[in-house]
């Protein structure tokens, strides 16, 4: 009887996790293996000799040793992350602190503030594209009219294009930070803050000595999460500048995309994606370590 029910239990277990395993094999494991195989082959559709041949680690060698575009795109991505994440954090925290008390219409305000994050990134890109279009853009019109920007050059100036993309990302993702920080602040017991007030601390000191330490695990989580997300930024840049002018805004996701689906160098593209996946894995492991060990104990 016991053996029977144990077998029964095992069968039930496989019944439960079977579909998931099948799903993972189909959409994750198989493609990964295929990508690994492809990355070892010459698969450029623009080459006619040797196409499909196994060339060992040649793709990786070229990528890591000889491709300046790869490293500059990584550099651009890193810069992007370093610029947007702290900005989004600081602004998100500021807004969260501002709305961290009851007032009429608070829910409405929070919902309204959340809108940019809720819109699909491609739509965000399209929205800003129309706003900033050289000839018809609504924003371009006012920027020109009030002389803030001389002419319709937003996406043709290297630094400006980069700055605008960063600003759009900040616009889009600050609400996410705000939501997490607001949740953290709301979850905070009021007494330590009151104690700090009685101890003579002003708002800045309360923030620094009480609120920020309390929020630390959340801050780590939110910033890491955003850093990983921002390093994968694609949609809005693809829609707005396509990586241009030149390759000034070609972040690494865009580089991978172009290699695969513009240059049709599929083997090389697979190698790029796998190298990126490897980097992500390292970052994710670090992330996990920090999050699981970084939480301060509560009193």
């Amino acid at each position: 009887m016991a053996a029977h029910s144990a077998r029964e239990a095992r069968r039930f277990m496989w019944l439960c996790i079977g579909p998931l395993i099948l799903f993972l094999v189909l959409v994750s494991i198989t493609p990964t293996i295929l990508a690994i195989v492809d990355s070892l082959r010459e698969l450029s559709l623009t080459v006619f000799t040797k196409r499909g041949d196994f060339i060992g680690l040649e793709n990786y060698r070229t990528l890591l040793r000889e491709d300046p575009v790869f490293f500059s795109s990584i550099g651009r991505t890193a810069l992007f992350v370093i610029v947007v994440v702290p900005l989004e954090f600081a602004l998100g925290l500021a807004v969260a602190l501002t709305i961290n008390h009851e007032f009429r219409g608070r829910r409405l305000v929070v919902t309204a503030l959340m809108l940019p994050t809720m819109v699909a990134p491609v739509v965000v890109g399209m929205m800003w594209r129309y706003l900033l279009m050289p000839s018809y853009g609504l924003l371009t019109y006012y920027l020109e009219r009030y002389g803030i920007l001389p002419s319709s050059t937003v996406f043709s100036d290297v630094a400006l294009a980069y700055a605008v993309l960063a600003l759009i990302d900040v616009w889009e993702w600050t609400p996410f930070m705000m939501l997490i920080m607001a949740a953290g602040l709301a979850a905070m017991p009021p007494e330590p803050i009151e104690a700090a007030h009685l101890d003579g601390a002003g708002p800045w000191q309360v923030l620094r000595h009480v609120q920020l330490p309390f929020l630390r695990p959340l801050i780590v989580f939110a910033c890491m999460f955003r850093a990983i997300e921002a390093s994968k930024v694609f949609d809005s840049i693809f829609v707005l500048t396509g990586g241009g002018p030149g390759d000034a805004t070609e972040v690494v996701a865009l580089f991978a995309f172009r290699t695969n689906f513009v240059k049709w160098d599929l083997g090389y593209g697979a190698a790029i994606c796998l190298v990126l996946a490897f980097f992500s894995l390292i970052v994710a492991a670090l992330f996990y370590k920090v999050v699981s060990h970084g939480a301060p104990a509560r009193a």
Binding site: E191, E194, L198, D199, A201
Partner: protein
Amino acid sequence: MIDVSKSFDGTPVVDHVSLDIADGEFVVLVGPSGCGKTTTLRMIAGLEDVSAGRIHIGARDVTDLHPKDRNVAMVFQSYALYPHKTVAENMGFALRIAKRPKAEIAARVGEAARILGLSDYLERRPAALSGGQRQRVAVGRAIVRDPEVFLFDEPLSNLDAKLRTTMRSELIKLHHSLKATMVYVTHDQIEAMTMGDRIVVMDGGRVQQIGTPLDVYDNPINLFVASFIGSPAMNVFTVAIEAIGDGVRALIGDQALDLPADHPAALARRAVLGIRPEFLTFDPAPGDARLTATIDAIEHLGAETLVDFSVGDARGVAKTGRNERLVRGSQTRLGVAPARILAFDPESGARLRGRS
């Protein structure tokens, strides 16, 4: 505090409270939950605005001052320690904010830690401390400040019973050695009785009575105070009064309690009689008012015995010394000196004072 009121969204929580606390006094605000005692304390701290009235500390009117400018320190029920700071950093935080020299901070923290027996824990985080130690740190944080007023908001409620008793006497000792003004909020009438120089009994946002613990115990101003202070609680019997010969007779169910004509209840037609459990005796003396009661339960506490009894529909508790002769279910004579029977108005609950 002068005529201080507080309401939340139009609901009065603290209703015209006036309180004069002497320098160096230990005053306990006591009452059931929701009576406004904590709100009163928080208004003294400046954590709540007053809706009306003024608050003075010493010669200063602090009503409109920010908490940090009031020179008060508060110990919270939940300790409210800064979890990421060490014990020493917690205790020295106020001085650090005030930009005192490091040496002075270390000296004052060290001194407070010595008083509280925390010297070995200064480098620990609150999470590594027991509840009693955490509360000691919270007290230490207040001591280090050397404030004009110490405020305690149910500081012992989160501790277990034994620790509570220990901490209680430690706080009393601390008060004697610091000679500081302390305002202490509790719902525990035993804490109030044992700790306070004076106690303030509150109910429904109003001060019911202010006095020394024994004064409040012996001379409760109304039925609420009488029943709230004392453990086991005072026995109360609603009675009809009728005159007989040279006295009056109070009817408790089918029983009659004979009282002298000068008893405060004598002028009423109905009254609530209050008798403390310890004033009931099982061998009545001459002149005692007497009742025949049925013993419902006997609790032997060792040194003393609690006896649950009933008189008709009315129930009560008598407290006596060790007594092994009592039998559950039996009838017994209970006596009480008439002077020990307090009388209250059944409608208002106010104490009846008689002719005097």
